[in-house]
């Protein structure tokens, strides 16, 4: 009984029987002394005693043969061939067709041939006649020996008898038991645990401790199931830690709903882009439409509180602060419009009529890049190098299948700095993914409306033995950054990946619904090991 403490009386059982038998017979053969006790029970009893050093034992593994039901019948009645010979001899002559009237059908079938082979009978025209007056029924004798000795007198015939299914072989385990160093006639009273009382009265010095079973599982002390964090949140935490280690600030992503302007237009995604289709993006029917782009007070407050420490290193003079450009959202909106509609900032633009209504349509954000855009525009008031990241939920109007859900988590990083190079982005990504234990990367040129150059990130997956796409990256387009009022020399890397995909690859989860959503198995959550991406 788990948890029982103090002295526990040991019930009289098979162990006592063994101990008492050993008193007179040492060594003791279980096959002879305890022939009717099931082998598993004997083993359990012997193990209990052996763990207390009261006995020692050896195991013998014997193969034995025993007669089958048919074999036993032959032992009782004689073999089929003997029965045929006996009938033929009694009758003197039996027409072959009538043999079945004199012996059992089975005997007639098998016995006739064997009796011929042994030259006990012969065929005379269409009848059987005896050729021997007396015969020795070897089959029966052999089986009688087997019954008595559990083995064949002549091992060579065993194959034939096994094939004829007259005998079958069985494994027989027997034990030779000897007294052990702590042998006694019965198991002494044992204690299962050390108690406070035993410490006080000193009885622990003489107490006979029950041996601890080191091969069983322990007991969880909470008294119920353990608390657990969600596996995906644990992976998210690892990613956050990496970002913090690399001096990134976490972006305020507290807006599931965003406008067409922030989610698409500001990112230089043309208004006719397929990503803006009803097929791909969730549009909001209520509330009706967004207001004009402007400051988001909650986001600004959060960013200010986080960036306060940064200002320690980049304190500007009062004059500099005064001279800093002010954010002008109306100008920003006009710039975005121009760069789409007529071209601007060295770009031909897409040259199509820009729709204000389209900018106001409310969507469930399709990417957290909408938030990065907000943060980058905010940078125009004080252009400087910075690093931002976020990990949060995004929404796509996807048809749900094993690898797609209508919502998932996007991991996104943004680095703004002067004089950034494309090779530098690769170097950064190699370092970043190295933190996740992914060391072999290559980069494929790709298309993305808001980055140029754009690169898909591929990692070599040893388990799958192929290159798998693990993320997207690029440098934000001048059309996007210059519209914000950022200086031309300030270049910005962006990269993103989903939280679910690397988790699925890493842990061999093939269905995203086993990882996110209400169908996730609680047992999986409770038993999922701690996440150490660099070690796993």
């Amino acid at each position: 009984m788990p948890g029982a403490r103090g002295p526990v009386p040991v019930p009289t059982d098979l162990t006592t029987e063994v101990l008492q038998a050993l008193e007179t017979t040492d060594p003791l053969l279980t096959a002879t002394s305890l022939p009717h006790v099931a082998q598993a029970d004997i083993k359990a009893a012997l193990d209990r005693l052996a763990s207390r050093s009261m006995i020692e034992y050896d195991t013998q593994d014997n193969e034995v043969v025993v007669p089958t039901a048919e074999g036993k019948q032959i032992i009782d009645e004689g073999s089929h061939e003997w029965k045929v010979w006996d009938a033929v001899k009694r009758e003197g002559r039996i027409p072959i067709k009538e043999l079945a009237n004199f012996v059992a059908a089975e005997s007639a079938k098998v016995g006739q041939g064997n009796a011929f082979k042994s030259k006990w009978i012969k065929k005379d025209v269409d009848a059987l006649v005896p050729t021997a007056d007396s015969v020795e029924d070897t089959t029966r004798l052999t089986l009688q020996y087997v019954q008595a000795h559990s083995t064949f007198e002549d091992p060579k015939v065993s194959k034939d008898y096994l094939k004829r299914k007259l005998v079958t072989s069985q494994k027989l385990i027997a034990y030779t038991v000897r007294k052990g160093p702590k042998y006694a006639k019965e198991i002494p009273v044992e204690v299962t645990d050390l108690t406070a009382e035993m410490l006080q009265n000193g009885s622990w010095k003489t107490a006979n401790f029950k041996p601890y079973n080191f091969s069983s599982r322990g007991i969880l002390s909470t008294g119920g199931e353990p608390g657990a964090l969600h596996p995906l949140m644990k992976v998210r935490e690892e990613f956050r830690r990496i970002f913090f280690d690399l001096d990134f600030i976490e972006m305020p992503t507290g807006r599931f709903v965003d406008s067409g302007f922030w989610n698409f237009d500001a990112l230089f995604v043309p208004q006719q882009h397929p990503a803006r289709d009803l097929q791909d993006t969730f549009y909001v029917s209520d509330p009706a439409e967004a207001g004009r782009p402007g400051p988001d007070v909650d986001a600004d407050q959060a960013l200010e509180s986080m960036e306060r420490r940064r200002n320690i290193f980049t304190r500007k003079s009062d004059q500099q602060q005064e001279d800093a450009p002010k954010l002008d959202y109306e100008k920003y909106y006009a710039n975005v419009r121009a760069v789409h509609e007529t071209g601007a900032f060295g770009s031909t633009g897409y040259r199509y009529p820009y729709s204000d209504a389209e900018t106001k349509r409310l969507v469930l954000r399709t990417h957290t890049t909408a938030v990065s855009t907000y943060c980058l525009h905010r940078l125009a008031a004080n252009p400087r190098p910075c690093r931002y990241f976020s990990i949060d939920r995004v929404f796509r109007n996807e048809t749900v299948d094993a690898t797609h859900l209508a919502e998932f988590h996007q991991i996104e990083g943004v680095i703004a700095d002067y004089g950034l190079t494309l090779g530098g982005l690769m170097a950064f990504l190699e370092g970043f993914f190295n933190e996740l234990g992914i060391t072999n990367l290559r980069f494929k040129p790709a298309y993305n409306p808001y980055t140029e150059p754009s690169m898909e990130i591929f990692g070599f997956h040893k388990g799958l033995n192929k290159w798998v796409e693990i993320g997207n990256s690029g440098m934000f387009r001048p059309e996007m950054l210059l519209s914000m009022g950022l200086p031309e020399e300030l270049r910005v890397y962006g990269f993103g990946l989903s939280l679910e995909r690397p988790t699925m690859i890493k842990y061999g989860v093939s269905n995203i619904r086993e990882l996110l959503g209400h169908k996730v198995d609680l047992g999986f959550i409770q038993s999922n090991a701690a996440v150490r991406l660099d070690k796993d």
């Binding site: 119920g224 199931e225 353990p226 608390g227 657990a228 964090l229 995906l232 949140m233 956050r240 690399l246 990134f248 600030i249 992503t253 507290g254 599931f256 709903v257 397929p274 969730f282 029917s285 209520d286 509330p287 009706a288 967004a290 207001g291 988001d296 986080m306 960036e307 940064r310 071209g343 031909t348 409310l362 469930l364 190098p385 910075c386 939920r393 109007n397 996807e398 209508a406 919502e407 950034l420 190079t421 494309l422 090779g423 530098g424 950064f428 290559r442 494929k444 040129p445 298309y447 409306p449 140029e452 150059p453 690169m455 001048p478 959503g517 209400h518 996730v520 609680l522 047992g523 959550i525």
Partner: protein
């Protein structure tokens, strides 16, 4: 991204050698396209399925992929497409009527003379039009293409817009003449064309193109006339392009003639067509095959790529990407570049720079990170707060779950015995009834998770810390997220005290002291946080077994949530046979 299927060995013949799967995969990878599949052994002739970036309309057919890869491998130079007027100098003419402004105002046209089709070329020609219709043309809404056997019709042509009942012709592959209205009914159920009807159906006038004898060429964007159908034997092809987008109408023209003029009697020549469009000043000859001149800064390209290539070296790199580039004679940093008609995706010198990087080899670029930054790390305060609550809840033996944020209207309201309070953000176009609104409560997700885990040992103790969303007319996005904490006990007994105990524990960890309501109201100046609960009526919970949670901080009292024993009708709505209790708090007050 579009996937294009091309004849494997025909492509290898164009590239001058055979490639192993790995070799071709690498070539694609370097160039920025992706080999999706090789059907070697599965079909005859073997096809390569190649994924093309969504903005590379010049690679939507075999001819374009072959040409671009040949140029990239330096097996040929980018062709120079030329206009060639007919011998007699008389151009075909298309006159545009003002009425077309009411439905589809833009028109462009071109003629390919002496084209030699075979089965593969013919199919590629049709497939390219289809791909353009699907991608750039946004399902024909922006642009539509018609192609005609010029020898079956006679110019001059007119592009008009007429009431549907005044339009009558035999549509492609049909035996009967129909009016515009009849065609709308006839094609209603058509798997292929049905989806385009909406573009013009309700317009009082339909766009229509006639020849000199009032034979119909096409009724864009729906269908061509049967008369001018192109066949394998067709040699002279007239291409009509109609559009609602002035930029894209020319892009489509360029792509079609650039890809298929290679098969003309004189390759890479195109016969221009005279467009007469006086009402909107759009009279001109189309197509204009002049490459677009632009400039790019060599130092910009070198700086972003981390390279120090000379201008000549950069020009050589750019030649592999179809540009005609030369060092500028007047500016020692500039490259004078002609962007070929095929490259409508080039908008800015950033695009030129990327192509130079591709030609150089992305993976060969020096890994240089010239950081000048002094940045600090910081976590979002809201997430820090969430993590405190999450860890404490887990330490108390509760398991974190992660249900979805979108849910059905009923799950959020009716199943919780609540009526619609008008606070939820509603979706316009969900594909299933599972996703109708953005949740305003975490409870539905917890109950669904418990339901899906019915076979798990009891009791089940689950929690979530995440965002819900409410409408908020005062904000730009007319909505705001709110960070909630919710927990659910489900077992043989309701576990109300356990949920209550978790509340107490979380409040203790957030330094919020338990007080009685009277104390809270009596001592408004108590420092820090304090909280109390009081019985409340809430239809989600059993009567007299629900309480509101109040927090008092800095002299302000706010009701931050509710806990209670789930009402049996709620349990039934979520198909839960055992009792349970839940709690949900808005934790933002502790921020």
């Amino acid at each position: 991204m579009p996937t294009i299927s091309v004849d494997k060995y025909a492509l290898f013949k164009e590239l001058g050698r055979n490639y192993s799967r790995e070799e071709f995969d690498d070539l694609c990878f370097d160039f920025g396209i992706e080999l999706d599949d090789d059907t070697e052994g599965q079909e005859e002739p073997a096809q390569l399925k190649i994924e093309i970036p969504a903005n590379r309309y010049d690679m939507l057919c075999f001819e374009g992929i072959a040409m671009n890869l040949r140029v990239f491998l330096e097996k040929q130079q980018c062709p120079r497409w030329q206009l060639k007027a007919p011998e007699n100098g008389e151009l075909q003419t298309v006159t545009i009527h003002k009425d077309t402004e009411r439905i589809r105002p833009y028109f462009s046209c071109a003629i390919l003379r002496g084209i030699k089709f075979d089965k593969a070329r013919y199919e590629s020609f049709i497939a390219l039009q289809d791909k353009l219709h699907q991608n750039l043309a946004r399902q024909r809404s922006l642009v539509a293409i018609g192609t005609h056997d010029l020898n079956t019709i006679q110019g001059p042509f007119t592009y008009e817009a007429l009431p549907p009942d005044q339009i009558k012709f035999k549509p492609l592959n049909q035996s009967k003449e129909m009016t515009g209205t009849e065609m709308m009914a006839f094609y209603e159920k058509d798997k292929h064309l049905g989806k385009y009807l909406h573009i013009i159906r309700d317009s009082p006038v339909y766009p229509i193109i006639y020849d000199k004898n009032r034979n119909v060429l096409s009724m864009p964007p729906i269908i061509n006339g049967d008369l001018s159908k192109i066949k394998l034997e067709t040699t002279d092809v007239l291409i009509d392009i109609t559009a609602t987008d002035k930029t894209k109408v020319e892009i489509v023209n360029h792509i079609l003639v650039a890809m298929f003029s290679v098969y003309c009697t004189e390759p890479f020549t195109v016969e221009p067509v005279k467009i007469v469009s006086e009402h909107n000043g759009e009279s001109r000859q189309t197509p204009d095959l002049t490459p677009r001149p632009t400039q790019a800064s060599a130092s910009f390209i070198n700086s972003v790529c981390g390279l120090s290539q000379s201008r000549d070296e950069l020009c050589n790199l750019l030649a592999k990407m179809c540009y005609d580039a030369k060092p500028s004679p007047s500016d020692e940093d500039a490259l004078d570049i002609n962007v070929p008609i095929t490259r409508a995706d080039v908008l800015h010198q950033a695009d030129v720079m990327e192509d130079a990087a591709i030609a150089y080899g992305f993976n060969k670029l020096p890994r240089h990170f010239p950081s000048t930054s002094s940045t600090v790390a910081a976590g979002l305060p809201m997430n820090k707060l969430s993590d405190i609550v999450r860890l404490e809840a887990a330490m108390c033996g509760w398991a974190e779950v992660m249900p979805l944020i979108l849910c059905s209207h009923d799950e959020n309201y009716a199943s919780l015995n609540k009526s619609d309070d008008g606070k939820a953000v509603k979706l316009q176009n969900p594909k299933t009834a599972e996703y109708q609104i953005v949740r305003t409560s975490l409870i539905p997700g917890l109950l669904k998770t418990v339901r899906e885990n019915r076979r798990h040992n009891l009791p089940m103790k689950t929690f979530e810390v995440s965002d819900v969303c409410f409408k908020d007319e005062t904000l730009e996005r007319k909505s705001r997220n709110e960070r909630h904490f919710a927990a659910c006990f489900y077992g043989k007994t309701s576990g109300f005290e356990q949920v209550h105990g978790l509340l107490d524990r979380i409040m203790l960890m957030l330094k919020s002291a338990f007080i009685k309501k009277e104390e809270g109201l009596k001592n408004p100046e108590v420092a820090g946080f304090s909280y109390w609960i009081e019985e409340v009526e809430d239809a989600t919970y059993l009567p007299h077994h629900a309480a509101a949670v109040y927090v008092r901080a800095a002299g302000m009292t706010s009701r931050i949530g509710t806990l209670g024993m789930l009402h049996p009708t709620v349990l039934k709505a979520y198909e839960l046979p055992f009792p349970g209790s839940t709690m949900e708090l808005n934790i933002e007050v502790f921020l």
